[in-house]
Symmetry: C2
Amino acid sequence: MSKKRVTLADVARLAGLSPTAASMILTGRPDTRLSAEAHARVHAAALELGYRPNLAARALRTDKTRTIAFISDVVATTRFANGLIRGTLEAADAAGHVVLVLETGGEPAREVQAIEAALDRQVDGFIFAAMRAREVFVPALPAATRVVMLNATSRHHPVCILPDEFEAGGAAVRLLHDAGIRDGIALIGHNQMVEQGLFRSETVSRRLSGIRTEMARFGLDFVAEESCWNWEARNGYELVCGLLERKVPLTALLCLNDRLAFGAYQALGEAGLRIPADMSVVSFDNDELAADLRPGLTTFALPHEEMGREAVRLLLAPKSELGEHLIPMTATIRQSIAIIGEGRGLVTEMPRPSRSN
Amino acid sequence: MSKKRVTLADVARLAGLSPTAASMILTGRPDTRLSAEAHARVHAAALELGYRPNLAARALRTDKTRTIAFISDVVATTRFANGLIRGTLEAADAAGHVVLVLETGGEPAREVQAIEAALDRQVDGFIFAAMRAREVFVPALPAATRVVMLNATSRHHPVCILPDEFEAGGAAVRLLHDAGIRDGIALIGHNQMVEQGLFRSETVSRRLSGIRTEMARFGLDFVAEESCWNWEARNGYELVCGLLERKVPLTALLCLNDRLAFGAYQALGEAGLRIPADMSVVSFDNDELAADLRPGLTTFALPHEEMGREAVRLLLAPKSELGEHLIPMTATIRQSIAIIGEGRGLVTEMPRPSRSN
DNA sequence: CAATATTGCTAAAAGGATTTAGCAAATGAT
DNA sequence: ATCATTTGCTAAATCCTTTTAGCAATATTG
């Protein structure tokens, strides 16, 4: 009938024991010498009263909150890197932790604020996530703070998680090669600066490096390398229109992301070319879009969800496992490549939640 | 040099005052009678030591954490309702609060767990969000708990925020009417069950109701009402292919979401029909997709971001403002309607973050 | 049997803030 | 000069849990 919260003292009283005993039993201390009967009485009392420990009080004493701070530029608030947060939430939940999500828009001032807000709340660790894999500036933190960089790197925090772009780049080339394609392959979205790792994501330069390495291994050459700065649908459209106008002999398009590929689809459609009969297309990201295109787009997914899960695992691991953790990118095979050889890394498509409003 | 946290006692000591005084001054109590000099000394000391209050300790005493629980089915982890969380984070940040994000996948068991995890951490209030606006089951909560339903409703929690679908439905019809279109309007995605509010989102039934009311007001009739259960691109494609086969005389397609519209684009494209010259299209959602289509799709955006902000405002408002809070949906005018009259509610398109990996 | 170990449990302190009750000095009223 | 207020500040209690140190009773050992 009383409106107050049930406290540990209440449980102890009902069990006829001291709060000390109740605490030891409920927190499952190993070395305690309390009787089996005491255990039973305390657990029964806790159940009967519906006891829930006050985590603020516990945090005050133990400095542990079972709370993780997820600090990102725009991960939670754009659709792009959504899997990162999905994986993080899922793994945190499984580990009995909870996630404080803070977005900074990449602004250093807000970043500092976010970190302070999290520190004030005694979080157990930090995950710094970035929408595009990149070096992220992390303001100074207390020495012992546990930190994992997710889809990001940092000079001061060596534990980081990245997609294995080099391998995926090679795999994309293999997919075309296995399909019997030898000539007329165009690279869509190449950019000198990016390739040299000067701008944007460091990982994309690895993707390109993987592509070139594998092309060389097979003795293949690009018939064209179309460069652009942004990777939007419009850019893909314009680049492919250009190629068609110049009558470059094309067999396959290796697009650096799905939006470029979407633009390519539009250009090819308007030119009356059929995919994959007249042209094969392969791409990266596995955007939601890729499944809706006609025909479905074969593309290498960024393993965001898996990366998020791994971030939580590393953050809560007993000792930190330093270094880069590369997560494999798997191909989702659809119908955009005229497959002659057998597909590798084939993944059946996952059902997605459908939407109605 | 010491590694320990700076505590209020340290500040008080440095200022030559009691912790009581320091607390009163730093929390900015109004009625205190402490001297101006004392204020100055305490603030100076806090600054010098870099004092940050321990929120766990404060929470223990005051039961306030400046933390909000955002509990949703799949909002944070799908791209669809992303704006909800963006708006929430933004407004919470502005109000000096922090957001605990918990996803339940809509499973009642996980919902209960999530609520308990949040209650254990003494959150100041709950926002229950749903991907599609719908009645959400909320497990019992302590009586005084502050709750806002976001894009959702609940029998027990009267404060809710919904998009103004009725109005938007009418506005979509007006857009076509203003463009001089009188005949050959097809409704794509109609569904009897949805319209009666029996399934899915309650708000979509309002959207349909707004559409029909406005059609009636103008004395217009649909030339066809194509029904389907899912609202994916493939459904739009199939429905429009069907209409074309049956040679229904079409002028405009009123699609119930952008994915259906995307499918319609594909079907029209394959049939060699041009938008908007041969066919106007209008739709709902303002999916990212809508901007990438050729031509750009005119569509009514779900005001998710604004809704998220409003949720925080209502949650933290001094007294709860009961009832439904309808947020207007604004049209983003692109090129998919042959505009003859003048466009209303025209919104220039916002730049979106571009993406490269 | 006396000395020692073990068992089963508890009192009290600690963690860091807020808040209630109240003290001493200065000021004002009579 | 005396009593009542006001001013400026503080001691101590409180929130709830964990943890250290240790007590009393029983069991074991020499």
